[in-house]
Amino acid sequence: MKLLDMTKKYGKATYKYPLEPYEVSEGFRGKPSYTYENCIGCTACGVACPSNAINVKLNEDKTKLVWEFDAARCIFCGRCDEVCPTGAIVLSQEFELAVKFDKNNLKERGELDVEYCEVCNKPFTTKRLISYIFHRLEKVGWDKKTLGEKIKYAKTCPTCKREEKTEVMTKYLKRGTK
């Protein structure tokens, strides 16, 4: 009987859920929301994601860098939020993930233009990443002239840079032996 009295005392404990929204707390970690405009394609989120929910790879004809997120695999840990340098990916308060019939509705996708290496002509990074770096350098006080000189260096892939450096070094060493 005591338990029944308690029911009267505490009243309703349930929500009319779909009709009445469920309030989550402020720091709730829900579905990651992706802002395409901010993304620079640095792939930090893809490396950090422990459950492989975020995949970043080149498309088939190597013209675009494809960013793909699968909410069905996500464990809502928020590692992507932590590592993103531009705030393109932030955990939202959204927790309703049910989709009708099609699993693909759980996926999100973004395509970014690829930058080609000026020496070997292979894709190695995104256009946005390079312009982001230049933008940041401009902000810390580099003048336009120096930046213009550096543009070729920035548009060379790491492998070619290494080879170039090796060539210079070998020349230098050969000269030294003579």
Binding site: K2, L3, L4, M6, T7, Y10, A13, V24, S25, E26, G27, F28, R29, A48, P50, S51, I75, F76, C77, G78, R79, E82, L91
Partner: protein, 579 residues
């Protein structure tokens, strides 16, 4: 004189010890000859007051050409009487290590002397092909019945893990035999294999004489996920914590802490006090919702749905509390090596304290009402008795053993730094039955609330996470322990090359509890079987269907869920009466 030295000296009097190795201060590994193994474990277990916490078989052929076995004993004192306990500063872990040559993978069974080792030794054969000679129960345990003979999945060179091996033809499957008592008129009642709310389906065989269970046996591991192997192959330490969380749906956070703590201890990393306090808070929140769940289910199994509803209403507050503290309704996704990822603000702490108040007041109210209900208490009292000696032999953990009067708790025996500053007691009950276990759970709830309050008060400022600066040494190993709601979780990690895991052994609390369940069933009625399993807290709630086979007359009868539930609630109209 270091911790545990006098225990080691006592062992030395009888056994030759080849090597003594200390990883952290309180974790000692002694290497003995393989033929001395059973005697060493027995001396440590019964004479010096140890409890078998875990056993790790390991494939170390690429390191030293041998297999190795590690019997992890938690040295706390026998605790059969209140005086029989080691002083607090002498409690430690002693691991008995032995090498097994690769060309002769056998070792003398420890089970004959220490019954608690039975499941571990069965698993050692399934996973590594290490045969325990003289093991009284050599059936398969971990791998399924259609797994090919002679393929041992955790050996480093066993198989290509990208492909699943072809299952054995149904006709060639070894028969899954159950331990059966002899005698005429014994009814064989299968229970399971699927329980609706459980992640781990289990199959129980109850052998009954009329209504009374005279013996029981069970077959578990229907969903072996191969997590230990997954961690070895692919994971780094940032990802390991998240994998460890997925071991269990209820006490996942405790697993993450145990796993990360093992990795931290192996490199000697001290985490900031604020992070320790936050870890304790999260563990206690987990205990709150897990215990509320179990008390609720124990009421529901005996038909008291009203109490179940009330307790689940209160449980909702504990989920909200978890949301405030960690950002998710479960406490997941928060632990990293070196601390915790999320800090708390002042307003969040204030709201949490309000929620704690609600939980405390309402839990007390509901529990008092349940205790006033005579029928409810009668259904719990005297059911599922776990004899004290059986408990001592099989090393169960958690409320299961604290209900037998043993004061075994990881927070008390092997505490973190921050826990030693807190003021709390470990509740124990002497009833040994379901009632005692539920009472222990209730009293722990109140303790948890008080611990969280103390943590909020004493929580020091500063960072919650530090970056580990030490490189991980290959071959170093350590134990990580913590008290999950169901009992003590033990994680054992050996580091490999390239900052990865060489071997991860995860021992969940319920693993230690299963072996003694058989003795808890004996002498009870079928109607109480569900309640006894529930009081163990393995997320058991529902039996879909039961087939009853009368061995004598070869008749079968199918009882549906409704029948069994009605009978377990009213104990009238025996469903097998007309068989």
């Amino acid at each position: 004189m270091k911790k545990g030295d006098n225990l080691i000296n006592k062992v030395k009097e009888k056994i030759t010890i080849h090597e003594i190795y200390r990883q952290p201060e309180d974790q000692i590994t002694i290497t003995v000859d393989r033929n001395d193994l059973p005697e060493t474990v027995r001396i440590l277990y019964y004479d010096l007051g140890g409890w078998l916490s875990s056993m790790i078989p390991n494939d170390e052929r690429e390191i030293n050409g041998n297999f190795a076995l590690y019997y992890v004993l938690s040295m706390e004192g026998g605790k059969m009487t209140p005086e029989d306990e080691l002083p607090q500063d002498e409690k430690c872990w002693i691991t008995v290590k032995t090498f097994i040559p690769a060309n002769d993978p056998t070792f003398p069974s420890v089970t004959l002397k220490v019954p608690a080792a039975v499941w571990y030794e069965r698993e050692a054969y399934d996973m590594f092909g290490l045969t325990a000679i003289g093991l009284p129960d050599p059936r398969r345990l971990v791998v399924s019945d259609d797994w090919p003979e002679g393929l041992f999945p955790l050996r480093k060179d066993a198989m290509d893990y990208r492909h699943r091996p072809d299952p054995v033809d149904h006709k060639d499957e070894p028969e899954a035999k159950f331990l059966k008592p002899e005698g005429a008129g014994v009814l064989d009642v299968p229970l399971g294999p699927l329980h609706i709310t459980s992640d781990e389906p289990g199959h129980f065989r109850l052998y009954c004489d009329g209504d009374t269970i005279i013996d029981a046996d069970y077959r578990l591991f229907y969903q072996h996920r191969g997590m230990e192997k997954l961690a070895e192959n692919r994971m780094n330490y940032d990802q390991m914590g998240y994998l460890a969380e997925r071991v269990c749906g209820i006490c996942g956070y405790a697993h993450a802490i145990g796993c990360i703590e093992a990795a931290e201890k192996a490199i000697g990393l001290e985490i900031p006090l604020r992070a320790q306090a936050m870890r304790v808070i999260c563990l206690e929140i987990e205990r709150l919702h897990s215990h509320l769940l179990n008390i609720g289910l124990a009421c529901e199994v005996t038909g008291n749905v009203n109490a179940f509803m009330h307790i689940f209403r209160i449980r909702e507050f504990s989920m909200e509390l978890a949301q405030l503290v960690t950002g998710g309704r479960k406490t997941y996704g928060n632990v990293v090596m070196g601390g915790l990822r999320r800090d708390m603000t002042g307003t969040e702490i204030k709201k949490s304290l309000e929620l704690l108040e609600i939980i405390e007041v309402q839990t007390k109210e509901v529990w008092d009402a349940v205790m006033d209900d005579k029928n409810q208490v009668e259904r719990w009292k005297g059911v599922g008795l776990l004899d004290k000696q059986v408990a001592r032999d099989f090393s169960p953990v958690g409320p299961n053993i604290r209900g037998c009067g043993f004061k075994r708790d990881s927070r008390y025996d092997h505490p973190y730094d921050f826990l030693t500053q807190l003021d709390f007691e470990i509740p124990t009950e002497d009833g040994c039955d379901v009632f005692a276990r539920e009472t222990v759970r209730y009293r722990e709830l109140l303790e948890s609330v008080s611990i969280i309050r103390q943590c909020f008060e004493m929580m020091p400022g500063g960072l919650t996470v530090i970056k580990p600066q030490t490189m991980i040494k290959p071959g170093a190993y350590a134990i990580g322990n913590d008290e999950a709601p169901r009992g003590e979780n033990i994680h054992w990690i050996m580091h490999g090359n390239a900052q990865k895991v060489f071997r991860w052994r995860c021992r969940a609390a319920t693993y230690n509890n299963w072996t003694s369940l058989r003795y808890q069933f004996r002498g009870n009625t079928i109607a109480d079987a569900a309640l006894i399993v529930c009081s163990l807290d393995p997320c058991y709630s529902c039996t879909e269907r039961v087939t009853v086979v009368d061995i004598k007359s070869k008749k079968t009868k199918i009882l549906n869920y409704q029948d069994l539930k009605r009978y377990s609630q009213s104990s009238k109209n025996h469903p097998l009466k007309n068989m």
